[in-house]
Symmetry: C2
Subunit: 326 residues, 2 copies
């Protein structure tokens, strides 16, 4: 019997946007779509937007969701058996929600849920900027800052909680992080923390910025990666200052991790990482340099080659890789 | 043919002391001896003290060095083929010295040289406080602060430079480290940095302390771990303040690493770690807590069970483990 060509869906559930894609079994994107992540409501509302995003991607790829060999999801939060608990940066998602079951019922196909950062790291490792390395650190610079580790070709998960690079301490008793702790790298460089910092300086301390005006003009409710990029293009001083501060924290935090794990490559992904691209990957590498113990052979620092789609592609690999291996 | 019982030598070359031991093939210590690490001269002088230490240990064990199945050495610096280059904290050791060959000629047996921190971590993993874990972080708190990683039962060396936990940044633009960089964990918690800090506060700023008096009384030229322990017993305020500052840095730095690698256990060794013992391992665990992302399940934090001899025992494993495996 000749097997039919299998297509897979992938959904990346981020704090700002939901990205969906349809792929063949070797990582080629046949169609893609994105939706804004709801900022209110609860898990069911988020799942409904995920469904819409995947259906739009399937339409673009001219396939029926029910004909897919399966759909993979990269999600924040704690994941067990397709259930997602305490998903950070998502509305009303403190408890547990049966995400795999809900989406499987909607699409009529198998759904697997994995950790968002880990699937995106896996995608860059297998198909993207890290494909030439055996060991890799993925740094996903977006609403928060997540990290994914591949050591000797395999994801390193520790006891299940590895990769929380956003919560490496760069200043003891420093800025308050969205996680509630003090001095985390994410407290300076996560998009959510950066927005809170700018809002405080602008609204309470009168520092000038056009960022909130840009946000309204572009009908956004948050300072998205696109708003940050536009503000930089316009030479907005407060945006520049805040990004300088973010890069300084990323340099110290990523270099600290490199001093301990000493992997070959670093891939910078995430909404901000991809949007700000090569010039900022270069700036992060420069900010790492004074903190690297083995400074004569710094790791290679790359922008995520799969761009915005890396998370969705990695999510689809949850199914296609498993089948390829079986 | 019945094999003769094999004995092994192990030498731990530290910044303050040289510890030697004679062991049987399963890690039992038959004799031990220690010497102060020379503070002047060069590699040949250091090697001569190492030879004396090993001969003293062999005498205690009632064996001849030439009858040993081999001698393992744990050394700082960059190690390749038994040669040691740029050994930090050792006098005049900027260049390359053929340590294995020199000691092999002296003892008339095989000599292997490994990284000091990695062999000590390996000893704790195989025979000491980490023997029940699959993955482990060793933190060696002494003249400097070194780190060793065991992941899934195997040493993780990265590209050869992994484990430099002393140079995790805990304060961007913070205190000057002995490595020349700013804000490293070791700049607050390494014995050498702590001594420089105390000397500055005492000699230049008039802060009271009995530590230098204790040092002279005990005929030491440095504030050794023993001097620190005695100063604490006497309630020396400057010693307490400096150790509080060290523990705060260790808490932030070790927690940062845990947030990324999430291993089961942490073993605190090194001269200060062993000397200050359980109360300080507990204090470090408490100082880690506010920085741990998965704070509901902190890693287990232990004092190195092999104590001062861990490095020498680990060094001997360079030979006995290799033979057991062959």
């Amino acid at each position: 019997m000749i097997a039919a060509v299998a297509f897979y869906g992938g959904i990346d559930l981020g704090g700002t946007k939901i990205q969906a894609a349809i792929l063949d079994g070797v990582g080629n994107v046949l169609g893609a779509a994105r939706r804004a992540t709801p900022t209110s409501g609860g898990p069911a509302d988020v799942a409904a937007e995920m469904e819409t995003a995947l259906r739009d991607a399937a339409k673009a790829a001219e396939v029926e969701p029910s004909a897919l060999a399966g759909v993979g999801v990269g999600s924040p939060g704690t994941i067990a058996d397709g259930n997602v608990t305490s998903a950070r940066n998502l509305p009303g998602w403190e408890g547990t929600f049966p995400l795999a079951q809900t989406l499987s019922d909607a699409f009529g196909c198998r759904v697997e849920v994995g950790n968002d950062v880990q699937v995106a790291t896996d995608a860059e490792f297998k198909l993207g900027a890290g494909r030439l390395y055996d060991s890799l650190l993925g740094v996903f610079w977006g609403t928060g800052v997540g990290g994914g580790l591949i050591l000797d070709g395999k994801p390193w998960l520790g006891r299940g909680g590895a990769g929380e690079i956003g919560h490496v301490v760069v200043e003891i008793d420093g800025a308050r992080c969205t996680c509630g702790r003090l001095g985390c790298m994410e407290a300076y460089s996560g998009r959510a923390s950066m927005e809170a910092y700018v809002r405080d300086l602008h609204e309470r301390k009168g520092r000038k910025t056009d960022m909130f005006k840009l946000m309204r003009e572009h009908e956004r409710t948050r300072l998205t990666s696109g708003i940050w990029a536009r503000a930089l293009e316009r030479g907005d001083k407060l945006a520049e200052h805040t990004l300088d501060r973010a890069v300084r924290a990323l340099g110290a935090g990523v270099a600290s991790v490199m001093n301990v794990i000493d992997v070959e490559g670093v891939v910078i992904g995430g909404g901000l990482g991809v949007r700000l691209g090569h010039p900022y990957a270069k700036r992060i590498a420069e900010a790492m340099q004074p903190h690297l113990f083995a400074d004569q052979r710094p790791p290679h620092v790359h922008v995520a080659a799969l761009g915005d789609l890396g998370g969705a592609i990695g999510a689809s690999l949850l199914l296609s890789s498993a089948e390829a291996a079986s």
